[in-house]
Amino acid sequence: MNNELFRKMMKSNIRQYRLFVLCNTVLVMVCYFFGGIYFNNMFTSDRYVNSMISSNIITPTVVVFAFAVFFIPYTHFSFNLQNERKYGIMEATGVSWRDLWKFVLMENALLAGCSLILGLASGIMLLTLFFKVFVKIIGIEFNFPAISINSVLRPSFALLIIYILTVIAIVIRLSRITVKEMIEDSKKVRIGKSSSIVLLLTGLTAICYSIIGVFFIFDQTNTNRLIVYYVVMLIGIYLMISNSYVLMIWLKKHRPNMLYKNLPVIGSIRQNFSMNKRIIFFSICLISFVVFFQTFSVYCSKLMVRNALNDNPFHIAYIECEDGEYPSEKDLIAYAEKAGAVIDKNAAIPTILDGCFIISQNVANGNLGTDCNIEDGECVVYTQYDLHDGYPHDEFSRDKLMVNGSDELSVKEVNYSSLINNGLTPQNIIIVNEDEFDGIIQRDASVRTAVIRVINCETVSQSEALYHEIAKDYDMGLDGLFVSTQFIDMKTSDQSGKFLILVSTVMNMLLLFLNVVMIFFKVQSNRERNEREYALLWKLGINDAEIDKTRKTETAIVFIIPSFVAVCIGAIMTIGLIKISF
């Protein structure tokens, strides 16, 4: 008898099941996709994939799994809340709690199982598609299997734990509520009961503080502050949403005519805002994050390419150590002819290696484009970082420097730009005059010296051809320790940027899709109440056009305005980020 009842109940829920399984499958699929990449040991190994590219997967993976921790219980609880009344009636009409418990457990486990299996299958397909097609479109070559045991087992383990805990929580909840609570409509409207003008103004202040902070205070010296401003702004938004009923009180006091003339609309908005404030707030958080992260990833990809260009003024630069073998000037000309390249600049820069690089003034002025006029006991510092590269770092704040075997040198000038390719040099390059340079070598016989070779051809592609020609005979190495090339850095940066855009787009599309699903769930659960109220308005003599207007205004205010607010928040944060980089 009970089995027949449960079978019929499941049959009547088919439509809900479809939606439930669809959104959970999409989430699980994307979890497997990101987990599959993140837990693939080869992908995260520097031997196979440049860390600049692979590191881009960390944030989206964390965000997606954090979202899964929230979303999976949300869908299960929403689903069960919609059916709770039926459960209550079944229990009231004689179905034992044990049977009901079994049914709920089975139903939720079945749905979770379907989502996991379908999500796993589609996730593996997406992962394969990603490694076989997408990354090749970007131009990255991966020579390892797309799927490993770890990349399937670890996400499965994480998801299973989330599902098991969710199902347990649902069963515990069901066991705690009474039949009466299940049956009665407990969703009574509690409008504006805890609204406070102080909290509303606090929220407004927090928002203003964040906007001012982002535009006028925030700078590159502490980029973490942007997150603080973002969080403060969201707290402000939450306070404003939670206490928005104060605005209704104000409206009633100061614009009563407006309130009375728009009673159906205002009443409806008031109720929907009150009932949906959590989901409205969540949507604002999610959409603003999506906007921020998407623009951030596009911006970062451009920044990476720009930085690669700025950080590498020479097409090819390598260090000729004392004990190594390197092509001579003559060889280089021969290689250039062979590669069809015309060398524009070819210079050997004698350097003292001492934690930093020390270069003489004449060599720097002649070959590196500086214009230094340094006295004895002085130095000019070139730090690796450009203050406008979008990354946090400290300013160079020392007045004096101690270099090997010398007295303290006073710092005459600090330049935040790249003198020689960043990949090759340590953080600081110090230029001293000729006497000081010779003095350092003479004073300390053990000091290490080397020659830095910098080469620029007429075009980057010519330099690339020359590099490959040299690499046929010499082990130039590609690890960036002894060789730095502008074209490889730019290529890596370009690939890394595109990869970041690709993964963030996948993640953002998922978040937006699931946000829409959540709103759909909410609209579905509110629909009956809303329709009842529209029908009532009609019965009271309010015409169809006015009801239609109410419906549209309500949708606009409850869902479109928050989306607009979210886009604005995302945009403000992005502007803040871009501002510090130019």
Partner: protein, 172 residues
């Protein structure tokens, strides 16, 4: 049709049909929302009607915060706010206890006597029917009889209807 309902007829339902998201005052003023009346005038009108039906003190509460009888009285206020000629009441006391029923029927009586509003009411309850001036009895959609109060007190009219039903005169 909607305009006709809005301007000429007041309707009272068995389940009150108040809008949850509006206060009692706002519910009462709903039929007047598109009329060009100043808010102070609206407040005055709603206060006046609510005072007549004994719910003036709870006008700023939401429906779920008041009793069924008070909700029904608010629904009656809403039905009469636009001064209709007729109020249609569908089992207005069907969900109420005897105390609330008396309160609601006294409200109807007052509106009828003082404001001259005709009230057309459907009920299964003899006690409620005994407040009326004329009772028409239906069985399966067919009128089976009618009774006039003709100056009888409410108690006398109640006994009269009861006697008629017991004797089977009306339903035969």
């Amino acid at each position: 049709m909607a305009d006709f309902r809005l301007n000429n007829v007041g309707i009272v339902y068995q389940n009150y049909n108040l809008i949850d998201c509006l206060t009692l005052r706002e519910n009462i003023l709903l039929p007047l929302h598109n009329k060009d009346i100043d808010s102070s005038e609206l407040d005055y009108v709603s206060d006046k009607i609510a005072a007549k039906l004994g719910i003036r003190d709870i006008l700023d509460r939401y429906p779920h915060e008041v009793s069924g009888g008070e909700q029904q009285r608010a629904a009656i206020c809403r039905a009469v706010i636009n001064e209709p000629k007729v109020i249609l009441a569908d089992e207005p006391t069907g969900n109420l206890d005897s105390k609330s029923t008396t309160a609601v029927m006294e409200c109807f009586e007052k509106l009828n006597k003082e404001d001259g509003i005709t009230i057309l009411m459907v009920t299964h309850d003899l006690y409620t029917a005994s407040y009326c001036d004329k009772v028409m009895l239906f069985k399966d959609g067919i009128i089976t009889g009618s009774l006039d109060r003709d100056g009888m007190s409410r108690k006398e009219f109640y006994r009269h209807i009861l006697a008629g039903l017991e004797l089977g005169e009306i339903y035969e």
